[in-house]
Symmetry: C2
Subunit: 413 residues, 2 copies
């Protein structure tokens, strides 16, 4: 057969995704499948069953990362790896993460049923806890695998109920024997929904990100003075929420002032004592700044930090800022990008060069191996919400690009 | 003896308050004695024991309001009533409410040990659930007694765990037999801490409020669109928290623009989904506007409401506003105020005429009977917090004013 004419089975991919979407399904049409929850276990079990229908070698490592390898002709050569994550955001969508795992599974099924022989082994992977919403940080499985996070440190992370990552991993039966350790990878591909509005706005089917935006996280605590609302005159108040509100607006204006494709967001806020008739005495909030230009992000933060301190001072509050996490921007592999561009053209799909605004396991993988991603459009640009949606034909197109990306890489010496 | 030379026992009052402060004592030096909690029961039991040491008739009504009446010479005459509330804010202070109940108890003890005969009966009261922080609304006991709230409606109110007011009242053994119903009262006095900084700033010992400020409560819900932070450009975002932040600042600027002794506060805010990397899709917050001039408060709210709607529209959000509660300003009884002024002068205490910025049971009582309040200074103006503090000598001064206020009223025909 002509390998170039090979296509994945769109209906099968859809059925697979629909089966997965039943696990942790929410009333609002999304899924709630937090890392290391019962739902995560159920979805992993289902995935495992599907893998076992093929002739693959399955390995689960100490972080619960699941690898299924189909042998090539030359198994001494490093494999081509592809996957994403099964876990979801709280009340998240049916496509984020899971599309990349099921897409890679569909590619493996297509190769398998066509009895294709690749030179290199082809491996499908589910990375543990990409979302980081139950256990921070995000991308824990790929981070430890890549040697950027410490396994035991991650084991000791706790969820909001105080449950430990390591114990929950064991509880669901996915704390494997395989040492968690990077190894040579010939190429890593990750299919993912865009999670933004750009492909839809541009009317393009396939997004080919040149890399992942740099990401800077800060935790801010503003302390004022709690007091009874009624008898405390406006003058002399030290209202921590008013100070925080001014900071939130200042941050929101930042990207327009700095130029570049920067975004800056306060997503989380906690007000204390949070009582209707008490002046807020303390507010904690998060800052998320992202930019392709790390230098710009850092300069912007320096400026905004100064503004925050001024606002706090002006309102009689103190401020404490913790630099929680940062990841410099990632540039994907040029050769793989070119390969995916060529494939997309051959498949006659429209394509768009862009930047990934969200972090992905591909970010850590890129530090170990040549890496590239394939994006498909998010309807209305919505993601991390129950109404997250991608057209089935777009899922199919993305998986076809993935198929040929994997095949071309697996067929080369 | 010369009644005019009579004084309460400052040491005994202090000991009484210190004993009470042990019940629900917090590590930060305050008390946590929520309405109808085990701590409320314990404090009521202690109070009851102290009352029973005197020759008084104790009645507990269906709302758990506790009345202890000492007979006068003419028991057909309506009594003089005085008290406040035993319940506290969550992690609140050692003076708010309890000073008014223990102050009235101290007055009764002073009258009792001096074997004074009053014309009218003198009654001490603990009003149930003044704070309203466990069960909304506030001032529930006095509100039902005054005929302004419905008993069964209050019984059905639930706390955050879903426990019903009526059942909790029964559980702690204070759902009494006495019908809860207003009756003729000759005069009502309430001793209370100021809960603001004015007396301290003015260097005055006794505050004599001419009334209670009008109070207007609103609940605001701003709906935007939740979305992944990274891939969603700044343009086109519908960030509910940014909209709320702009509203919070607008409200904060309101009193300066309107003049009058108005205060306006956002004390409570809830952000959804409240995740570091998701653009806030919905924010709920409260608005509290207070003014002596109800017309001004209502005009101010109308203006701010228009601003809120503009801000929501500008930021692509929708807004819903509920008018939760309002109480028009209360003017206390002129004759009783004059009486308290005279007493304060006779006692040679410095005094200050003011307005109460906080609601009190006295607000409901004033709708039924001639009413007046006595304020003592709050150190640093702090209240509803663990560090709430009033000097013992100020407590003593306040109780002496209360003593003579009660006596003069109880001695008249």
């Amino acid at each position: 057969m002509d390998v170039k004419s090979l296509r994945i089975n769109g209906d099968r991919l859809r059925n697979t995704l629909e089966e997965m979407a039943k696990i942790g399904a929410t009333a609002g049409g999304g899924v709630h499948r937090l890392a290391l929850s019962d739902e995560d276990k159920q979805a992993r079990d289902l995935f495992l069953g599907w893998l076992q229908e093929m002739d693959v070698e399955i390995k689960i490592d100490e972080m619960g990362n699941m690898f299924a390898q189909r042998a090539g002709k030359k198994n001494s050569l490093s494999p081509v790896l592809s996957g994403s994550h099964i876990d979801s955001q709280p009340k998240g969508g049916r496509f984020d993460g899971i599309l990349g795992v099921m897409g890679a599974l569909e590619v493996l099924r297509t190769i398998h049923e066509n009895r294709l022989e690749t030179k290199r082994p082809v491996t499908v992977v589910d990375w543990t806890n990409e979302e980081g919403s139950r256990f921070a940080p995000a991308m824990a499985g790929s981070g430890v695998w890549a040697g950027k996070l410490d396994r035991d440190w991650v084991y000791a992370r706790t969820d909001i109920q105080g449950k430990k990552f390591g114990e929950e991993l064991k509880r669901i039966g996915y704390r494997g024997q395989q040492p968690v350790k990077k190894k040579p990878i010939h190429a890593y591909f990750e299919l993912h929904i865009e999670q933004g509005p750009i492909l839809e706005e541009e009317g393009k089917a396939i997004g080919l990100p040149k890399g992942i935006i740099g990401l800077y996280w800060y935790d801010v605590t503003v302390e004022g003075q709690a007091n009874q609302v009624g008898p405390t005159p406006m003058e002399g108040r030290r209202d921590a929420l008013c100070a925080a509100a001014e900071m939130i607006l200042k941050l929101n204006e930042l990207p327009a002032g700095m130029g570049g494709n920067m975004v800056a967001t306060v997503g989380e806020i906690h007000n204390f004592p949070n009582s209707r008739n008490i002046i807020p005495g303390r507010v904690d909030f998060t800052v998320d700044i992202r930019s392709w230009d790390d230098g710009l992000a850092i300069r912007a933060w320096k400026e905004v930090r100064k503004n925050f301190e001024q606002i706090a001072g002006k309102r009689g509050c103190t401020i404490r800022i913790d630099e929680t996490w940062s990841l410099e921007h990632t540039t994907f592999d040029q050769k793989l990008l070119k390969r995916l561009e060529g494939i997309t053209e051959q498949l006659a799909y429209s394509k768009h060069s862009m930047i990934s605004g969200a972090g992905h396991d591909a970010g850590y993988l890129n530090q170990v191996a040549p890496t590239a991603m394939i994006f498909v459009p998010s309807i209305g640009g919505r993601s991390h919400v129950e109404v997250e949606e991608t057209k089935w034909e777009d899922c199919e197109r993305g998986a076809n690009v993935l198929l040929h990306g994997i095949l071309q890489s697996a067929l080369e010496e």
